[in-house]
Symmetry: C2
Subunit: 204 residues, 2 copies
């Protein structure tokens, strides 16, 4: 009668049980074999279910891995919402907080994200998290620089968190998260400054 509070209307008991089994099996295999590979075949075997079950529920590897990360993502969103409620910060400050927080979120889940997007990287732009983040960033950019192409700038800002790039910068280039945050700051200031310059020009 009452929906089980977890998922969509009335998830069957066996489905719920198997969902947990699969997620736990995935965590177990990742802990054992490292974060560089995760065969869904192996996950199914470890979970004691058929491969069909795994694929029906999670669609593909990114789907499974995102399910593993979901909690961190919602915590990040809550933290951001809380920050916005504190003393009504300016668009500039909110954007900065969002981008910095995002950098930390991605850094914390670097290996998992990398694994997720090793396959099906094109699906990223259609995914729900990407769309949501895009909307949020575009909103703040519009506020900060009403004249600029907010949608495009939001795209580019989001690309800063592409797992492959992020990991490359952190690992191969040896940059720390602060350097990345600093780079993003330049961009934020640049967007604001370009807008200002634009305004001065057209109001001259």
């Amino acid at each position: 009668m009452t929906a089980p509070a977890g998922r969509a209307p009335t998830e069957r008991a066996d489905a719920a049980r198997n969902r947990l089994r699969v997620l736990e099996a995935a965590r177990r295999l990742l802990a054992a074999d490292g974060f560089t590979e995760l065969s869904l075949d192996a996950v199914a075997k470890e979970a004691g279910v058929g491969v069909g079950t795994v694929y029906r529920r999670f669609h593909n590897r990114p789907g499974l891995v995102y399910a593993l990360i979901e909690d961190n993502e919602t915590r990040f969103q809550e933290a951001f919402t809380r920050h916005c409620a504190d003393g009504a910060p300016s668009a500039h400050d909110r954007l900065r907080a969002f981008l910095h927080g995002m950098a930390e979120l991605v850094d914390d889940n670097r290996e998992l994200l990398l694994l997720a997007e090793a396959s099906a990287p094109a699906g990223r732009y259609r995914s729900a998290p990407f769309r949501r983040h895009h909307e949020q960033i575009a909103g703040m950019v519009t506020e900060l620089a009403p004249g600029a192409d907010a949608a495009y700038l939001a795209d580019l800002l989001l690309m800063a968190y592409t797992p492959g790039l992020f990991d490359f910068q952190r690992t191969e280039r040896g940059w720390d998260v602060d350097r990345i945050k600093g780079g993003l700051d330049v961009l934020i200031d640049g967007i604001g400054a370009a807008e200002e310059a634009d305004r001065r020009l057209s109001h001259q």
Copy 2:
């Protein structure tokens, strides 16, 4: 004696013959089956060589597809070099020309690039073209804004050409190339403006 002018020192005749066969077979299959898939097994069969031969020479699908695009890339580089020779344009103008030209290059080869990075997207950052472009862009950014983190900004500018994103913007969002160029212009101006603002602040 004389190197065959094509490749590394003394490519064997059979190797050269097979290389061409494979490339032609790939073009044939792409023309026939569309640009959404390209099985290297099928390419090998079509070319009349073993799969091992294909993989040894091109390593993986991106490798093969990049070989297919290589000509366009060198034409782009030559055009850019020519532009830089014309009347010594400013860093701002050169960067703008480079980014716009790149947008057209990527647009022209959209389908192939998308195909190439459908697998092995992480390899992108280590690839020779990426490194070369990065260096070129970073150089111009340094000239334009000596205070900013040129390496980071170059990374981000290059991410604008990620095949998945580019195709998404063009196809799903229905943007034309000019809109993308316009978005890049805002960024270029922003980088310059932020730098200027920075300078004013520190010289105050």
